[in-house]
Amino acid sequence: MGTERPHTGHDVELAALAAAGDRLAFGELVRRHGSAVRGLLRRLGADPATADDVAQDAFLVGYEQIADYRGEGAFAGWIKKTAARLYLRKVKREARFVLTEAPEEAAPAGSDGPAATADRLDLDEALKHLSKAERLCVSLCYGADWSHAEAAEALNIPLGTVKSHVKRGLDKLRVRMAAPSESASNDSARRENRG
């Protein structure tokens, strides 16, 4: 059972202790990676309450399956994959939306366009401008470190569809997250063209 001393070891050590039944060690892993998992779920498109519920479930499942984690990769990556799988299962069960080839309606752009965003490197802000499918596919591949093939299999859609969602999503993010100087020059170029 768990000891009362605080755990300060490496994730792999903590996971080994947790696999031996040390719940305090697992609690430390939750403290270290809870925010990353919650953040990923929100970036996948979950509302805050759902993201927190799924994140909690992911850690509970993670504790049950901790013996499967043998330290081949980062613990954060392992638990994020579990969380993403649970979220996808929930989304599919609730049939909230269907991923299609056709581009979906994304959040409306700000009145001043991409160049008006103060913090251009804010990923979370930029993700709001992607369609649900694009956001999901980009976040699965770059946030949960899934391959396109894994995402296609989990989402039950063709590989090509995932690739096109990712490509469109990346294109939109690239524009939204363009460096201020780059955007400023784009703005002045646009103004010159209009003039």
């Binding site: 719940r23 305090l24 697992f26 609690g27 939750v30 403290r31 990676h33 809870g34 925010s35 990353a36 919650r38 953040g39 990923l40 929100r42 970036r43 927190d52 994140a55 909690q56 850690f59 509970l60 504790y63 490197l121 990923l123 979370d124 980009v138 976040s139 770059y142 946030g143 990346l170 993010l173 690239r174």
Partner: protein
């Protein structure tokens, strides 16, 4: 090249966990759920043990009674009074260990099982 840079930058941004003010609360909720689940599991295991122990005890005690009753029926109604006397006699010896070991063992098991259940319950509560 620029595409690769952007994708690397994107992966890095995804790797940066946002800061949540209630991060500690979240961790506590998860560990509390883990503890609750573990406590429930222990109670379930304990209850299963108690039920199994009681079942064994009841079987043993029941077997003892069954022997007496089968004896009574096989000897027939004519020997009813004789058997009843014998039965009474047996139960007079009930509390002497030599005459009813099985009954004693069964009762002891039942008491042990109940004791285990009570201590487990107190422990969990």
């Amino acid at each position: 090249m620029a595409d690769q840079d952007f994708e690397t930058q994107l992966a890095r941004l995804y790797g940066q966990a946002p800061v949540f003010r209630d991060a500690e609360l979240f961790a506590r909720q998860v560990t509390e759920k883990l503890d609750r689940g573990w406590a429930l599991r222990r109670v379930a295991i304990g209850a299963t043990g108690v039920v199994a122990g009681l079942a064994v005890a009841v079987q043993m005690i029941g077997a003892r009674f069954a022997n007496e009753f089968s004896e009574v029926s096989s000897e027939g109604t004519q020997q009813w009074s004789l058997a009843l006397a014998k039965l009474t006699n047996r139960y007079d010896q009930l509390f002497t260990l030599g005459g009813s070991e099985v009954l004693w063992v069964g009762a002891a098991l039942a008491i042990l099982a109940l004791g285990f259940a009570v201590t487990r319950l107190i422990d969990e509560v």
